[in-house]
């Protein structure tokens, strides 16, 4: 993926669907993880690995692990919270 391109919500959903096997709606992006069906902390680790692979950037692991929703994690990617590898 281009390191300069903005990751829109639909692209983020597609990435999560293919990478994690989670078919989320845009509404579920904003939901607390506790409200997502079958959500488990193992998904966060897989998500970190997926995002680093797809964006070519180091993801701030601690901030991802502290996030409470997919939208929060998406925001981390689209702000200055990441560093180029």
């Amino acid at each position: 993926m281009s390191r300069d391109g903005m990751l829109d919500l639909a692209g983020f959903l597609a990435m999560v669907r293919d990478g994690l096997g989670m078919d989320l709606t845009e509404e579920q992006l904003a939901a607390d993880f506790d409200l997502l069906p079958d959500w488990d902390s193992v998904h966060l680790l897989r998500l970190v690995m997926l995002l680093e692979r797809e964006t070519g950037r180091s993801v701030p692991v601690r901030r991802v692990l502290q996030a409470r929703s997919m939208r929060e994690i998406h925001s981390l990617l689209t702000t200055d919270g990441t560093e180029t590898r």
Binding site: M1, S2, G5, M6, L7, D8, A10, G11, L13, A14, M15, R17, D18, L20, G21, M22, D23, P37, D38, D40, S41, V42, H43, L45, R46, V48, M49, R53, E54, V61
Partner: protein, 286 residues
């Protein structure tokens, strides 16, 4: 008999011989194909041919703004549907990709084969099996994971001990292998049944790979077949892992859509239609 398939099968968007896919399904019950993103990316990204292949995924595809993710979304589904169509002796445009309650992708109405998809960089990977469940995963062989504090989240205590005893240059490649195995296994079982990655493990690659408990003892029987292969695609080295769960029903030797109907049921329906046709014929001629 290797339930996780034979060699990885390279396919291109044009002029591929899909017979190898059918042959591997017949021989092993499993086939794994790979292609290149640059080759499978649609030439007409808004054309009717792509729309026909994507089917219900078309609206999702159109909503993706990022061109790279959009291209990969289309390319991966083109490869998946063409590979599945080859296995089923069907047309790619007639197949519909759907997602089950545990997040696993499947082909609606075609439960004779299970599918799995992975893509990384320029590599697209699709696994097909008639044995039960399949998960595939690929990573660049040079991906740096070890030494970032992630091993304790990824590995069981036994695996961490195993890694620490390896010569330093072998630790990262071994961790990449373990990661792809765990991803492939997780994809096969679906997210609803996942375990933490440090709660299940795998042994070293110099012996038959089996699912282990955290202490390194065997955690499952012969129902799981797991393997890792090296792949060079376009000059880049990848690590590919495959996990296949054998549901114990044997290989389905003929996966074609048209032959999956029970022969007796087809005969009964045909007889009923013939009888009805006969009755109408009598009515119309009297």
């Amino acid at each position: 008999m290797n339930a996780a398939g034979g060699d990885l099968i390279g396919v291109t968007a044009e002029d591929s011989d899909w017979a190898a896919v059918r042959e591997d399904l017949r021989r092993y019950g499993t086939a794994v194909v790979h292609g290149r993103l640059a080759d499978w990316r649609p030439r007409a990204p808004d054309g009717p041919a792509l729309r026909a292949v994507l089917g219900r995924d078309w609206s999702r595809y159109r909503a993706i703004g990022h061109p790279d993710i959009r291209g990969r979304y289309a390319a991966s589904r083109r490869l998946l549907k063409h590979a599945a169509a080859a296995a089923l002796r069907a047309e790619a445009i007639d197949l519909e990709l759907a997602y089950g309650p545990t997040g696993r992708p499947y082909l609606r109405g075609c439960d004779q084969i299970d599918i799995s998809l992975s893509h990384t960089d320029d590599l697209l990977l699709v696994g097909l099996t008639s044995r039960g469940l399949i998960g595939v995963d690929a990573e660049r062989a040079d991906r740096s994971i070890y030494g970032r504090g992630l091993a304790r989240l990824i590995c069981t205590p036994h695996e961490r001990r195993m890694l620490s005893e390896l010569p330093e240059p072998e630790r990262n490649p071994s961790l990449v292998r373990l990661w792809t195995l765990k991803e492939a296994y997780s994809k096969a079982i679906g997210q609803g049944m996942q375990f933490r990655f440090n709660e299940f493990g795998f042994g070293p690659e110099d012996r038959r790979v089996q699912l282990n408990r955290p202490d390194g003892t065997a955690g499952a029987g012969d129902e799981w077949t797991l393997r890792t292969l090296a792949l060079d695609s376009g000059g880049t080295a990848f690590v590919v892992s495959i996990a296949v769960y054998d549901a114990g029903m044997g290989r389905t030797l003929d996966t074609a859509i048209t032959t999956m109907l029970d022969a007796e049921a087809v005969a009964a329906v045909q007889a009923a239609l013939d009888a009805e046709r006969g009755e109408w014929s009598q009515i119309l001629h009297n």
